[in-house]
């Protein structure tokens, strides 16, 4: 049952409750596949092959140039159109942990589970690269120096990340409160 959904550009965020248990929260970020990417890469490959054929037939170079260009084309297509990601999900089970799933177009699903007591805090971080700057949602893990990225391949807009961040915060806060009450009772 879809509780809430927002859409911006190629990204769509949905918050639903698939299971009857009301505590389990699932957040999805779905990426619409872009035609432009495929068109661009295939055009490039065709141009390369065409120029190799031209050189071979009219420029009288050997046929091996065509073989090399075909190999290069295959390599280029494999590199630029790697197994694309269809959807990334976060399943929050409050007393148990958080499961991070990556769904590929080919149907493959990769899952990663983080137990709730390992999570110190979920944080929204600005990442700076030499050419751009973007927001990511990460989990600070107790005892580890590296943070775990919640959305490993996709870069959804921060408006969508905020909802997931709030859900993660409330899940980890509940656990912290429970821990505190346990210690005070004892």
């Amino acid at each position: 049952m879809v509780k809430f959904s927002i859409s911006k550009g190629r990204y769509t965020y949905t918050h639903d409750q698939k299971y009857s248990c009301e505590n389990v929260d699932i957040h999805h970020i779905i990426l619409k596949s872009s035609r432009a990417n495929y068109v661009f890469v295939y055009t490039l490959a065709v141009l390369l092959l065409a120029s190799a054929l031209y050189l071979c037939i009219l420029g009288e170079k050997s046929i091996s140039i065509v073989y090399y260009s075909v190999l290069f084309d295959i390599f280029l297509v494999k590199l630029l159109l790697r197994n694309p990601v269809k959807k990334e999900s976060v399943v929050i089970m409050p007393a148990f942990g958080v499961q991070l799933e990556t769904h590929y177009m080919s149907g493959k699903i990769i899952r990663c589970f983080v137990p709730i007591d390992k999570i110190l805090k979920p944080v929204l971080v600005e990442c700076v690269t030499p050419v751009t700057c973007y927001w990511t949602l990460s989990l600070m893990i107790r005892g580890e120096s590296e943070m775990v990225l919640v959305f490993k391949s996709l870069r959804p807009p921060v408006k969508m990340l905020v909802h997931v961040w709030k859900a993660l915060c409330s899940a980890t806060d509940i656990k912290e409160e429970a821990l505190n009450t346990c210690t005070t009772n004892n």
């Binding site: 990442c127 700076v128 690269t129 030499p130 050419v131 751009t132 700057c133 807009p157 921060v158």
Partner: protein, 458 residues
Amino acid sequence: MGDHEKHRIMMVSDFFYPNVGGVENHVYYLSQCLLKLGHKVVVVTHAYGNRSGVRYMTGGLKVYYIPWRPFFNQSTFPTLIGMLPIIRTILIRERITLVHGHQTFSTLSHHALLNSRIMGYKVVFTDHSLNGFGDVGSIHMNKVLQFTLADVSQAICVSHTSKENTVLRSGLSAEKVFVIPNAVDTEMFKPAFEPPSRSSEIVIVVISRLVYRKGADLLVEVIPELCRLCPNVRFVIGGDGPKRVLLEEMREHNSLQDRVEMLGAVPHAQVRSVLISGHIFLNSSLTEAFCIAILEAASCGLLTVSTRVGGVPEVLPDDMIVLAEPNPADMVRAIQKAITMLPKIDPQVMHNRMKELYNWHDVARRTEIVYARALKCPHQDLLEHLSRHLSCGAWAGKLFCFVMIMSFLLWHLLELWQPADDIEEVPDLIFQTSMMERRGLKKEKKMTDDGEFGTSFF
């Protein structure tokens, strides 16, 4: 002052914290004072070692450490249009209205100014040093400066001498250049509670990088001569550099180990404690646009002796400084004159005068006026930019135009690839500045829901 509109300023410089120096301190203090005046300031610099990404400093000053490697002397590698994507992203996400670049040697600031101009932003440039005209390095740097400053909105120099130098080097019109001197943090540089006694010995303090530019060679001549003439004088030398070896040799040669103390590199936080141990501050620079070191010394109550170079005569009133020509004989004469002037000096009175004369808040207010003027400058399109650049020189003009056209094309390509609407704007985080304000803010927080970060999205 009336109502001033609040600006969103991007300070760009290769030189920033964790590096410590004149330009770095200027950018930091100016940013802090502008934040206090209510403007939004973002600093952009290159990554220092592991320090890369976004960091926040006091008062909510956001600093972007862009992971471009420094290439020479802490400056980033000049790629002309390579910085355009990241600069454009930061300009859009922070909703910047004005770009302020610092220092001629900072390639990052030149890139940012160039790219921002192409994208239609108003830019201000501050020049912090004096440069020559004769050697190969200077000629090239001046040509680059001519390129960058050809269409800058306004420029700021730290002294009138520096203004003359910048105008001559860059061909900028003098009406566009403002003079706003640097200032000093008088709260940090206070005289000692009990100043050192003058009866037994006179301590002369020197704190500078021991390089040719700062006149380390002059010191090698001056120190033995003065020690010979005045038996009660002692020197304390702080700082490090290639010329340190010469000073050590001079000390050995003249057996001055008990009269000349070499401290090595002094961290900025300890400069005050070194200064207050002395009576006179000696500055032997061969060139200086504006010397903050002598302001720090005067703020600590020391009498200054300096070479009459560059902008130094403009810095302090005549009763706080003794000037000399940059040759050993005249410097020795000046130091002897300073020693006779010492009994009339009261460190606390000097410190109070410095508080009146130099103040970073005043610098920020004056810079605000420059920003207001810059924003009133008319908008220019590409053709007007190109015509300005074409006049820079026969070959250079055409090269500059070519670079501008490439930048323009790259900008439009980026607009197609990653439209401005796709780049999200960052919410402004409000930082608490004082206990009183914190109490006030707490009440406000209860009235608004979710806190500042939450409300900006809903």
